[in-house]
Amino acid sequence: MRRGPTSFNIVAVAIGLAFLYLPIVILVVYSFNASRLVTVWGGWSLAWYRELLHDEAILGAAWISLRVAALSATAATVLGTLAAVALTRMGRFRGRLLFSGMVYAPLVMPEVITGLSLLLLFVALDLDRGFWTVAVAHTTLTTCFVTVIVQSRLLDFDRTLEEAAMDLGCPPVKTFLTITLPLIVPAIAAGWMLAFSLSLDDLVIASFTTGPGATTLPIRIYSEVRLGVKPEINAICTIMIALVAAGTIASSLMAKRGASRRERAALGVQV
């Protein structure tokens, strides 16, 4: 739609964005509050960040969460990309409907169900619960997000490039590695980042599938939050928000540069 926005449109978007960002901004600002009370502004201070540095429990949980997230995001990216290729490039195969059903369902499946069912599987298999079971659970949860992102990229781009390579005798695997893969790398990177942040964020599934010695950061934060607001929690939340924001902005800049390079390349081909 190209007609200009009315003042109603502008107000609607402004209110929407304010609603989305105000609580986050408040949280960030209060992480620098010298006073322990939310309503009292005691001046700017880094006291809560200093306190955080000495909180072994939080730091340990953060370290576990980061490792789980890196591992499960990587596994989910591989699985999710394979699934996306299977769904967009393999035509029909036996059990395709069941396959796509299993791929999309975790996106909306309530987390309590996924968490409970995975736990019961781990118990039935008699696996020791801990780091690895959480990583497997998060891989299963986040694979579908990677698939959807990569799949929409695979549907978007010009298939004639692949077909031309195949017509010229390029084997499928080589076609995929030299033509398809470079074109979908931004989507794969975005999928990895989303999987990483979802894993870092998950409380419910991790609570079900974790065991002794593998308390993740959200489980730790949750048990603190239930006891009330603590400024240290504001501080750790601010650090996480800053990391995510930096990562997202960096990746979108990268995607933009990649896109313009691709456009130039496409123009070059035309000339």
Partner: protein, 306 residues
């Protein structure tokens, strides 16, 4: 391209099989186990349910196992009002929240679609970004605001809207605020996607033929945005029904949503069969919306081929 089933290369088979097997083992098979345990009985054992499937006992083990299965957990769900009430409460919260999300999300998505083209990627990013920051953090941020000595009461009292601090936290209002806040991107983005790709010449044609703008909106824009609305509604409704974190942190103790009931049965009462029965019943309740959602996804992501 590769319709020939018999001559599919090994590479292609691996591409399909690896994610297929992973999902079959870690997503599909667990549901069978949940179903099985929902038919078991609670026991003071490790694991805390009976009977335990014993493959070593051979066929006799299987028959012994089958005779010990029971519907007790499901009977309990039917007989104790607390379960029914929490299912109803979940459906109510999900339905009202989805309506609120639509009412709030539609003007936002519409405004985004009508913003200058150059701004739109930035606006989409602005809506997505909060989704990338932790869900738990965003709920926690609302506790800062809604608690008794929190910011909302502070602001309202300074403006002399209220005289004494009101109890915002631990109420249904807080649940609705938290749910709408958390799920807003899920509603806005599909709506925006369907509004953004709309053919503007339709509206021009309507205007040329003398159709007033509000009528053109109602007759053209709105019906064309319905697929986006359906996607947004399903993406919100289904997970909200099973929501645990939001009602647990923001809601009151007088009534529970079903996700909380399941959580308590599992973690506090250690009654795995009842927790499993709740999960099975919840899944049954959500089966129809989930199937709708699956069809929508298949159509939009597989070009209608499936």
């Amino acid at each position: 391209m590769q319709r020939d089933r018999t001559k599919r290369s090994w590479g292609a088979r691996i591409v399909i099989l690896v994610p297929y097997l992973w999902l079959a083992v870690f997503f599909l098979a667990p549901f069978v186990i949940v179903l099985k345990i929902s038919l078991s009985q609670s026991a003071l054992a490790q694991p805390p349910y009976l009977p335990v499937f014993d493959l070593a006992a051979g066929w006799q083990g299987v028959t012994a196992f089958a005779t010990q299965l029971s519907l007790d957990s499901f009977r309990l769900l039917g007989s104790d009002a607390i379960y029914l009430l929490s299912y109803l409460k979940s459906l109510q919260v999900a339905a009202i929240s989805t309506a609120l999300l639509f009412a709030l999300g539609y003007p936002i998505a519409y405004g985004m679609a009508r913003a200058p083209k150059a701004w739109q990627p930035a606006l989409v990013m602005a809506v997505v970004l909060p989704f990338w920051t932790s869900f738990l953090i965003r709920i926690y941020a609302w506790i800062n605001i809604l608690q008794r000595d929190g910011l909302l009461n502070d602001v309202l009292m300074r403006m002399h809207v209220i005289d004494a601090p009101a109890a915002w936290l631990s109420s249904d209002t807080a649940i609705y605020i938290g749910v709408v806040y958390s799920y807003l991107p899920f509603m806005v983005l599909p709506l925006y996607a369907s509004l953004e790709k709309m053919d503007e010449s339709l509206l021009e044609a309507a205007a040329d033929l003398g159709c007033p703008a509000w009528k053109a909106f109602w007759l053209i824009t709105f019906p064309l945005s319905l697929p986006g609305a359906a996607a947004g509604a399903l993406l919100s409704f289904i997970p909200i029904v099973g929501e645990f974190v939001i009602p647990d942190l923001l809601g009151g103790s007088e009534s529970q949503m079903i996700g909380q009931t399941l959580w308590i049965e599992f973690f506090s009462n250690r009654d795995w069969p009842v927790a499993s029965a709740i999960a099975v019943a919840l899944l049954g309740l959500l089966l129809v919306p989930i199937l709708f959602y699956e069809r929508l996804q298949q159509r939009s992501l597989e070009g209608g081929s499936a």
